[in-house]
Amino acid sequence: MKLGFNLILGGALTALVILAGLLAPWLAHFDPVLDADLMSAELPPDSTFWFGTDAQGRDVYSRILYGAQISLTVGIVSQIINTIIGVALGMSAAYWGGWWDDLVNGLTNVMLAIPSLIFALAVMAVLGPGLVSLLIALGLTNWSWTCRIARSSTLSLKSLGYVQAAQTLGYSDPRIMFTQILPNIMGPVLVMATLGMGSAVLSEAALSFLGLGIQPPFPSWGSMLTDARQMIQIAPWTAIFPGMAIFFAVLGFNLLGDGLRDMLDPHMRTRKL
Amino acid sequence: MKPLLDVRNLELGLRHGGQAHRILKGVSFQIMPGETYGLVGESGSGKSVTSLAIIGLLKKPLQTLGGEIFFEGRNLLALPRREMRSLRGNRIAMVFQEPMSALNPLQTVGRQIAEMYVQHQGRSWAQAEKMAVEALASVRVPTPERRVRDYPHQMSGGLRQRVMIAMALACDPALLIADEPTTALDVTVQAEVLKLIRELCAERGTAVLFISHDLGVIATMCQRVGVMYAGCLVEENATRDLFVSPQHEYTRGLLGALPKLGSRRLHGRQRLVDIDSFIADRSRLTETRFIAPRNSVSGEAG
């Protein structure tokens, strides 16, 4: 029962975020960037501005809806990059073994030794702020976990013998990896990717806070929160709503990931701390 | 002679919502003092769960739904927990299937055996650890004075199982429950451990409830056998009689599935018969039960 609960709630929250992002142009009341009227700056929530307005007079509610688009983009794209790198390296390392495996392991150890936020920070420092740099930076940080999972899953599959069977049948290595191994390791990898989406959104918030993320005036939830810092005493709603948006979105991803993991656990043990 | 263990109409299962789902349906059998009784059946027949009910270690959500378990005259199911605990390990002991994981990996085997003396006989740890050496010697572990300081991972599966037996027999229980004790061991080690159990229990007059799915093992160890299927005891007899003339269709199917030495010579080439082709309709199987009356002459192990 607990199993289903995670999946259902997580799925619902995630679906909510996706809908908010997809339907933003129809659900929003104002343009998130252009409708900035200084006369109506820092207004508390009322019937026109459901979540109030920020320092530039922009509607917080509309900005949050559009912010969902950014957060989803960040989450999905960064995890796609992560997954591709992680699976490619992990699967091939376990499959071929030898010096390649040692190399990948060493690289993974190095990546794991550097705290992910700091690595992202460094990459952003090199690439400059903005959405694209953010996607690249986040895509390059968490692949080591995915790599580990992919590697250990592939290793346990290898020991099952059907890989050897496929080899004796004369299948080429890439064919075996794509058709035999990949479908079977996708479970834990998917779990990692879902959880990674939450982590990516949180990192975006942190990086924006440090001045390196999405630049104004784009309505990423993280930068909204950063702007709100100044005004927390006079206009707390500017901080509360973006933070809640992040919280519920990440909670959704985490619950969904946990639910998926519980579903798969009898078959494969994933252990991310 | 009064039976040591008298299980009457035991029913086990789950309670979900208002409904009870029975896993064990009205199982009854008796074990005399010093007797070795075997419970045989396939996985899911309910044999392990019966033994857990006897020793009082049924895990939620399983619970007893009805019946009684009389041990030395007292109904175990009606005993307060504290009294049941004082019986456990002391008068009724159990040996489990997986020696690999059944011992605490962070404690020496000596300590774990000694715990029995401390717990049930009020000995000091120092005394108990000395007694642990003797216990190890009694289960034929070589150089017990050194082995006593070993950790479980330093011992082979067979040795670990001997440690388990030493722990179980430490306080001279009246009943030993052995749940598939040799299934996880190599065949050669199996034979030694079985011999050990047989000899030690005969020496001390310990009754044994021996659970297995392996008919061969049952045949060597037990004087009487009960066959379990789908939560019912469908046949019970002295071992030799059961094997020579099985009454219940399921028992016949079980025995029929065994390849027999020399049968090709006698009967010519035949397919190995599996149980499902032997039994016409499984759902009818628990309708009749064949419980043989106990002879005054105790049957020998076949």
Partner: protein, 311 residues
């Protein structure tokens, strides 16, 4: 045991070396130089001659491979270079601020352990109970919170509205200043620790040897005390150690938010100023710290669990 220790210690050295190299490579391509950030005031482009002189002084005019050799050579002597901005040795700067970071990390960890371990234990001993559900829901929520949002809210409630605690700064180093940042930093390790403790204890409880212990006639309390606790503790201690090692790296945002004078805020400021030696040095220190703690955890684990030494 000694051999094991030495082997583990030697194992991290190649990682440190590669990280040091990686850091250098990354930061040798940072656009915008320190000189620009220092000299430009946003209105006029700085005088190129001035820039050239500054670059020369900082050694930035030398070709990459030469800078690389100097870097490696310095590192070998445990010299982390000199800050562009303040001309002081990086090591000195780090030394000044590392204590504040450690204080924060230790306080956050204590907070996390004191709350998470008992909760996790109890939740595992009563699975499916209200306590269990609340603990797990709380844990997953804790992992979903943006750290600085939590910090902001705490600041808002406790410092600005209620005025119980100072809203930022190290102040006179007293405990009052430590509370808010420590709690904010400690929430994530708390959530993780509660989950791993619960999972670890449950694992042990479901283990065969716990069933054996019950079969021996021990009471619930005795089983937990003698058999479960030790086995679960091993997992808990290693988790605590690993979390602690990564805590300094995660404190970056918190230090900035609460204006806490630790190496996290030093790092962020230096990145903004393009003060490369400080950036490189700080990252290296953080990484080395993490690896050292991890190795210590492994060694402690080997001491406690007799199975490991056999390797």
């Amino acid at each position: 045991m000694l051999r094991f220790t030495i082997r583990r210690v030697l194992q991290i050295i190649p990682t440190i070396v590669v990280v040091a190299l990686l850091i250098f490579v990354i930061f040798s391509v940072v656009p915008g130089s320190f000189a620009t950030s220092l000299l430009s005031d946003g209105k006029t482009t700085p005088d190129p001659q001035l820039m050239a002189r500054l670059n020369e002084q900082l050694g930035l005019d030398k070709p990459v491979h030469q800078r690389f050799i100097t870097y490696v050579g310095d590192l070998a002597q445990l010299d982390l270079g000199t800050s562009f901005r303040t001309r002081r040795p990086v090591l000195e700067l780090i030394n000044e601020r590392i204590w504040a970071s450690l204080q924060l990390a230790v306080a956050a960890m204590i907070f996390a352990v004191v709350v998470a371990v008992p909760l996790g234990f109890l939740a595992a001993l009563r699975p499916g109970s209200i306590l269990d559900t609340v603990t797990m829901v709380g844990a997953v929520s804790g992992l979903s919170l943006p750290q600085f949002w939590l910090g902001l809210l705490l600041m808002y409630v406790f410092a600005l509205q209620l005025n119980w605690l100072p809203s930022f700064g190290y102040g006179d180093g007293s405990l009052r200043n430590l509370i808010l940042p420590a709690i904010t930093l400690g929430v994530t390790p708390l959530a993780l620790l509660a989950r791993t403790t619960r999972a670890g204890v449950l694992d042990v409880l479901n283990g065969d040897f716990v069933r054996t212990a019950h079969a021996k006639g021990l009471s619930e309390a005795q089983v937990v005390r003698r058999h479960v606790a030790r086995n679960a503790l091993v997992l808990i201690i290693t988790t605590v150690g690993l979390l602690f090692g990564s805590l300094i790296g995660q404190a970056v945002v918190i230090e900035k938010l609460f204006a806490w004078p630790g190496i996290g805020s030093l790092l962020v400021d230096s990145v903004a100023m393009r003060d490369i030696p400080v950036v490189q040095g700080t990252i290296l220190v953080i990484v080395v710290w993490f690896l050292v703690i991890n190795t210590a955890v492994d060694i402690v684990y080997a001491l406690v669990d007799p199975r490991i030494k056999q390797e």
